[in-house]
Amino acid sequence: MNAKQIILSRLGGHRTPPAEYPRPAIRTRPFDDPVQAFIDALRTAGGEALFVEDTASLDTEIIRAFDDPANIIDTRTPVSPTLETMERCDLAIVEAAFGVAENGAVWIDPAERYPRALLTLARSLAILLPCEAIVPTMHEAYERLDFDELAYGLFMAGPSKTADIEQALVLGAHGAMTLKVFLTPISGQSDFISPKEKQ
């Protein structure tokens, strides 16, 4: 018998398929102002949210918010940066599919548009998020997610952080040292249509 067969035989009676799965339903309380809740939660997580009134001025506002970064990688169009350029990257601009009001997290799926490593190698992250795309809690977040096309995706809540030395919070342990979310008004260019809505 191989290891799998041995382990499964040890599990004995625990191999029967469930007759039904009563997934517990959680009654969540809706936020009065989910956008404000998102902004507050992101601040607690060490990040910052900024409103962009006019999408035309988005690029200038990003540059201003990050104090003229020298090396920028903008992933709004597909890019294939080398490891060296990613290592030198001061600012990566990435799009988030949606945000979560209760914890300030945003869902990012690099898909084929840019390498996964960019999200942690870049010193700073500018994340674009349409205002409308904020769900109240993680329950609604997972309702939205479609795993069928996913290879790797993550919820990111603020910059990389650690408190491993005497519980003192330090931002920028390994990944991004600063993370700012730019809340954009919904526009024709926005790709915020969840996979489920597409169907």
Binding site: I7, H14, P18, Y21, M138, Y152, G153, F155, G175
Partner: protein, 464 residues
């Protein structure tokens, strides 16, 4: 390591060692209590918190009930996603599998993100003996690795060290200024040092927080982003999980991601909650399912312990853990859950751990999956009291039980002791048979016993 296998872990003596530095012990106690308070605030901010805990308990119990079914389903789905799934019966097989994969891919430099399973299975020394360099990339774990130490907490591995000690460790390994103990300065130094390790790595090893049977995917939660950076660069990723990390589907993740970080550190969610479903283009992704005693635990009355999601909340709240330090338990997972788990593995060796508990049950109240921890520890006492180390205590208790069954003899002995205790020299009272007095001061006897007072009062009442 093997030779220690049967050595009795004396929590009490180990705690004494920890308490030799009272200032550090006080700091440890307060730091963890602060984390507990942050957890309380986070939990209170979610009105449906208790509902979430009950849901988590239900989902875990359901998955464990059908664990074999869900494991096969998970394997099938994960394989379809291009993940190679392997099974390991025990720690030895797990170590062998990891070493074989690394050697097959010619990997000699490995970056590892936090995984208590790899600690449990002694993976690092096994790989190092084969010439493979393993770098723990979680800052706390890197600190203890450089110091040749072990984690003392599952979420805060270096909570037993002060920043001055970290400065000392870093100055000898990373050549930082030994007099600079500023946490930001030290973290920056670690960032630079570990960034090089990430860039040079041939392979990444990660743990798994949640595996999803329906999607054939898994989730890793970190605050530092070390699992993400580690797996993004090299082409080889080996994920390691105990059988119990499985949940039915991604739709259950809402419950667990809302509970985990709030219970662990009081954050609403970890900075990185990363979902792995397919290998990187051109990369290889292995997932190893490890039993190592879990299937046996599933068949026992302690099954519920497999529901643990390793948040560490029971440690932060435990009055004994906070005042004795993680190392005093002599286990990979310390604190209430660690004590309960250790008893299921080797009740003889870990016989002192169920007694490292005041039965206050605070752990039960903070546990996000509602494990009845204090009840498990109380139950384990029934078995562990039988070890030879506690023979003296058992005799003492039997003598006490005999006295309590014989009221006249009891009263006479008490009267004699009341007279004797203040008159005997300390050396005679605190003799080697007085196990109770070894750790405590004997009480000073009251001038009159309760029954004497009661009788006197009854007499007075009758005269009235």
């Amino acid at each position: 390591m093997r030779s220690e296998e049967s050595k009795f872990v004396d929590h009490f003596r180990n705690a004494e060692e920890f308490l030799k530095d009272p200032e550090q012990a006080r700091w440890h106690d307060r730091a963890l209590w602060f984390v507990r308070q942050k957890r309380d605030t986070a939990a209170a901010s979610v009105p449906e918190w208790e509902e979430l805990r009950r849901a988590a308990e239900t989902i875990k119990a359901h998955t464990l009930e059908h664990l074999g079914y869900y494991l096969e389903r998970f394997e099938e789905r994960a394989q379809a996603n291009g993940i190679e799934v392997l099974w390991a019966e025990d720690a030895a097989e797990f170590r062998r599998l990891v070493a074989e994969i690394l050697q097959r891919h010619g990997a000699s430099r490995v970056v590892k993100s936090k995984s208590m399973l790899t600690e449990e299975c002694g993976l690092n020394p096994h790989l190092e003996a084969r010439g493979i360099e393993v770098t723990d990339t979680d800052l706390g774990e890197r600190i203890v690795q450089l110091a040749g130490d072990r984690p003392s907490h599952i979420v805060l591995p270096a909570i037993h060290l002060r920043k001055e000690q970290v400065a000392e460790i870093f100055s000898s390994h990373l050549h930082t200024d030994p007099s600079n103990a500023d946490p930001s300065y030290l973290t920056r130094a670690a960032r630079e040092h570990l960034r090089r390790k990430f860039l040079e790595a041939d392979a990444a090893i990660t743990g798994v927080n949640f595996a999803l049977a329906e999607e054939g995917a898994f989730v890793v939660c970190t605050n530092e982003g070390n699992a993400d950076l580690g797996t993004a660069l090299p082409d080889l990723h080996i994920a390691c999980m105990g059988l119990e990390k499985l949940i039915p589907s991604a739709r259950d993740l809402g419950v667990f991601t809302r509970l985990l970080a709030r219970s662990a550190t009081g954050q609403a969610i970890t900075a990185y909650t990363s979902h792995f479903r397919r290998p990187k283009p051109g990369g290889k992704l292995y997932l190893i399912l490890v039993d190592d005693g879990r299937s046996a635990l599933l068949q026992s009355s302690r099954r519920e312990l497999l529901s643990c999601i390793r948040c560490g909340a029971c440690m932060n709240t435990c009055p004994v853990y906070r005042r004795s330090g993680g190392h005093s338990y002599g286990t990979v997972v310390p604190g209430p859950i660690g004590s309960a788990l250790a008893g299921t593995r080797d009740p003889g060796r870990y016989a002192s751990l169920p007694f490292a508990c005041s039965l206050c049950a605070s752990c039960d109240l903070v546990c996000p999956v509602r494990i009845d921890l204090h009840q498990h520890l109380l139950d384990e006492r029934q078995q562990t009291i039988r070890v030879p180390e506690y023979r003296g205590k058992v005799r003492g208790l039997k003598a006490a039980a005999f006295l309590l069954r014989h009221p006249r003899l009891y009263r006479q002995s008490i009267a004699a002791l009341r007279w004797l205790l203040p008159r005997l020299p300390r050396s005679l009272i605190y003799n080697r048979f007085n196990l109770w007095g070894r750790e405590r001061e004997m009480p000073s006897p009251a001038p009159r016993s309760f029954s004497e007072l009661y009788q006197a009062r009854q007499g007075a009442d009758n005269e009235r």
